[in-house]
Symmetry: C2
Subunit: 373 residues, 2 copies
Amino acid sequence: MAGSPQREGNVGNVAQVVVLVTGGCGYVGTHTVLRLLEQNAQVVVVDNLAGVIRGSDEKKPVSLERVEELAGKTVNFHNVDISDAEALDKIFKLYRFDCVIHLAALKSVGDSCSLPLDYYRNNVAGTITLLEVMKSHQVVKLVFSSSATVYGEPQYLPVDEQHVTGQRVTNPYGRTKYFIEEILRDLCTSDPKWSVICLRYFNPVGAHPSGRIGEDPAGVPCNLMPYVAQVAIGRLEKLAVYGNDYSTPDGTGVRDYIHIMDLAEGHWAATKKILKEKGAKAGEGVESSWLAYNLGLGRGYSVLDVVKCFESVSGRPIAVDFVKRREGDVASSYSDCSLAGSQLDWKASRTLTDMCRDMWNWQSINPNGYQSN
Amino acid sequence: MAGSPQREGNVGNVAQVVVLVTGGCGYVGTHTVLRLLEQNAQVVVVDNLAGVIRGSDEKKPVSLERVEELAGKTVNFHNVDISDAEALDKIFKLYRFDCVIHLAALKSVGDSCSLPLDYYRNNVAGTITLLEVMKSHQVVKLVFSSSATVYGEPQYLPVDEQHVTGQRVTNPYGRTKYFIEEILRDLCTSDPKWSVICLRYFNPVGAHPSGRIGEDPAGVPCNLMPYVAQVAIGRLEKLAVYGNDYSTPDGTGVRDYIHIMDLAEGHWAATKKILKEKGAKAGEGVESSWLAYNLGLGRGYSVLDVVKCFESVSGRPIAVDFVKRREGDVASSYSDCSLAGSQLDWKASRTLTDMCRDMWNWQSINPNGYQSN
């Protein structure tokens, strides 16, 4: 069962690698795991299955079964919480990981405001435990699922990686991401053997074009596009648009969206970069052992742009209700992703139409998400 | 053994209170516990005894035995790490705490740079565990040991509580304090039943005038005054002064120092304030459920001021060696403590001479700290 990191692979330009993906059963996780399998990586998933639908045999969740089916390959799955140091340690004894892609986290902005301790426990303390176990097994390469929320209210646009982080972050969820970035930075400063890439997602949307995997929010979606999709399918009545008096072309908030397939490719690009640095010591061709990259489309779309595009691809009307602005929301936010272009050789290629079409495809095939089957 | 928070006390202006002090065997802890005992509080101490000298019976540490002897009262002591949720839970079942004074933390700036994970584990994750246990027992009042390091490089002087925090904090130790402050703020925002006071210490120095308790640094001291004291006593050869070309009156760095006895009184003042708010709901006479106060003398002294004053009270020469500036050090930092004056009715009353005299008294009676006996 133990991985063989030195074995040569036949796809991609690195040897076959053994990758641990925490939170691999979630939305970003499934698409990322699929991408890794397509690149011939051996993938081990650790997930506590919070809010994840169980599969038919109660062992693997539906989402991961579908990833395996799409890839024609298997994934080593362990139902383990990253806060459980002992269980995690056992997994690190089973495999020789080349790197970890750390996606496990609670991710609802709203819940983080009402239950901040749960967010600090799961996200921050959980990450500290993961890092301690990694350290004790000399696994020192990590790709971390960060977020554009670390930038707080943008002080200029487009937002690049030089933008200040941690100031005016409006919710505990965003602070957990910021704190973890800083913990990772301190770790890399203390020991240059560590190599960490933080990926700052803008708004991931869309689904695999097959419609077999996609976002399956528990309860009422908090994010725009899943909400719009559920209005289109008839699970929700209408979309509340928070503010139409912003200084944007149509008055509604402008955001940067990224197709989940582009995001998954971003994780693979980061993984390749971090593995190329295998064995490199500080100063030996390594720019820095802690790096952060924006992953977005690099342009903004308004709420109404998204609604119109979704109506067009789905052929369904989306009822909207204009309500007052939400506290903490900004008029516009969009990314400069040129650093990922030059250093990761990555660029988002899928359009807003692609995002809406694949989201609609997933939603209409699976009107109740993974519970549909 | 269970505390009786409703019992009337005969000292002070609040009923006898039951207070948990985490880290109660350390430097700030011992002086604070003594002050609480003098005010007739029932004190329970939780400490993992990291770096603390054990007492003769191997149960209570020497420091706490001396506190009991000075107060003529006993302290309930538990050798427990705050990261141990199960052990902590048992203690919360034994007593009905009115509030917690949370001092347990790793505190070496230098070590935090080389071992950041240990600092995030003990300070941040440890605090999250403590808060979870408090929450599950409906203990929602906390006085937290924060630090002036949360201000980073001062943007103006004197530094008041409105100064930005978390920006340009130069070490992981300071970041742990900043992160905890933010976690506590989010907790208070999520649930106004919580009441938290963060005390931002400037540089605590000195000792109890009896010379029975004081600072007992493990290894070579990192802070100025204990270092000076050990040069005076002959344990160290000479003091390295990092930079004498700052734009300060004598070219050496200027800092705000606070006598540990004043600091202990600050903790009692904060405890009284937080207990007065007992049962108050949001909006009922409570300014906010999260408050932060500077505790300092409100003026700065240079390195050479401290050296001269120490030479004068000890009658011993202090050899100094001027070396280049240390990265991350600022020229000057001192506090505006008027908010603690108006809201806590607290003001530091002890002078630099008092600090040096009591430090020297402690050092000369206990040349090897608690190990001397």
